[in-house]
Amino acid sequence: MRLSLKELTIVAALGALWGSVEMTLGAFLHVLHVPFTGAVLGSIGICIALVGRVVVPRPGSTLSIAVVAALLKALSIGGVVLSPMIAIVMEGLLADAVLSLGGRPRRTTFALAGAAAVTWNTLHMVLIQGLVFGAGVIRMYMIMVQKAAALLHIPTASVVAVLIVLVAGHVVAGALAGLVAWQAGRSVVARRALVEIDAGEPS
């Protein structure tokens, strides 16, 4: 994938926008220990990256925006924060894969791409801990869920239901982000076309 100078600069600008949201709003939410920070930041970030895909309709543009944002995240106040950087890149990768496999850009594929990207946040912690601590930690979590359910006298199925609701919430948030991005992206492209016509240089 080779992007032109103009496309690369758009990727850089939108990557900077996602990065600045991560560095300002992200730091703020993490300090306040707001629950589901990952879902909120992921939805906003993927929305920006998907708008970028409407403006630069090339495979790999969403991933590039995510990579730029992740590299800028390394400049956060707290120093190098590797786990969020991996999460940002994975979100971009998933969204890009869905859009590239989905063929012609449509509202549905954007909603699916957003849902896939934001849902990654639910798996991220478990997978990263699995990578760092080994498969034993996953088994330990399973046993802990069973023991906690037994201790609180609730069936294990209820715990599973809570997890399913959690994942469904992420899917809905991501799909909404995708739909907003589709709408916002089209209005941004229309505005830019108007500006270019006014300036006498139609694209």
């Binding site: 994938m1 080779r2 992007l3 100078l5 103009k6 690369l8 600069t9 758009i10 990727v11 850089a12 600008a13 939108l14 990557g15 900077a16 926008l17 990065g19 600045s20 949201v21 300002t24 929305c47 920006i48 708008v51 403006v55 790999g60 991933l63 590039s64 990579v67 730029v68 590299l71 800028l72 390394a74 400049l75 190098v80 590797l82 990578l131 760092v132 601590f133 080994g134 034993g136 930690v137 330990m140 046993i143 802990m144 023991k147 201790l151 907003v180 709408q183 916002a184 992206g185 209005s187 941004v188 505005r191 830019r192």
Partner: protein
Amino acid sequence: MIPGDASQLAGRFSAAGRWRLPSRALLRLRAAASGGDVAVVCFAFSLAAGVLCRGVALAAALAVCLTLATLVYPAGLLVLTRRRTWVLLVLLIASSTVVGPDPAWTLGPFGISLQGTLAGAGMVMRALIIIVAVMGLVSTVPIDRIGGVLEHAGLHGLGFAVGVAFNLLPLIERSLVTSWHAMRLRAGLRRPFTAMRLLLVAAVTSSLRCADEVVLAAEARAFDPSARRASRFVWRRRIVPLALALAVVLVALTGMLH
């Protein structure tokens, strides 16, 4: 070049009188590590050792990896000075002890399992090896080199994009704040969903305007991002003995399993 964090760490230890000033050879090794290749070889060894070793071999691998980190990327050891890291690791051992099989003793509703404690200790050692190696690599190898590696992996022009993004950050943050205040003053936040969508459009449009200005300036100077060579790792021959020595150590460590 020694990274700032590394010199801070060295300073901290030397102030306590437990760390001698690094010799010239050590300084040269750390300077080579900042080029990327030494750090990458040590990182690869640590990763392989963390994944492949078990039991006593894992403890030996931890000792080797911490020694390597002290010599090559001491900034990676800074993660061990954070209270959060130790809280996480202690919690991991404690929960593994509680949920482990065949509890030897009971403490209230919880069983204390020796097997679980050993499994937890293994997880902690593996985590320490990987965390120190990853933090060391990331703090030693500059961002532009990581961008260069990604560029060689197929994301062309990424080094240029990261540079532009870094310079656009203050402009974009200022325009975001301006858009937010404008919307708030015009009572645009009464309908939050519409407000967020409008804020997104305003933020993206102003970012694209910044991008247009950069494109104009770059085109006026006949700048071509594809003509630029990305910064990349330089693999030197002197890295081969180190890589071979670490491979032998890895084989010896994994051989301890059998």
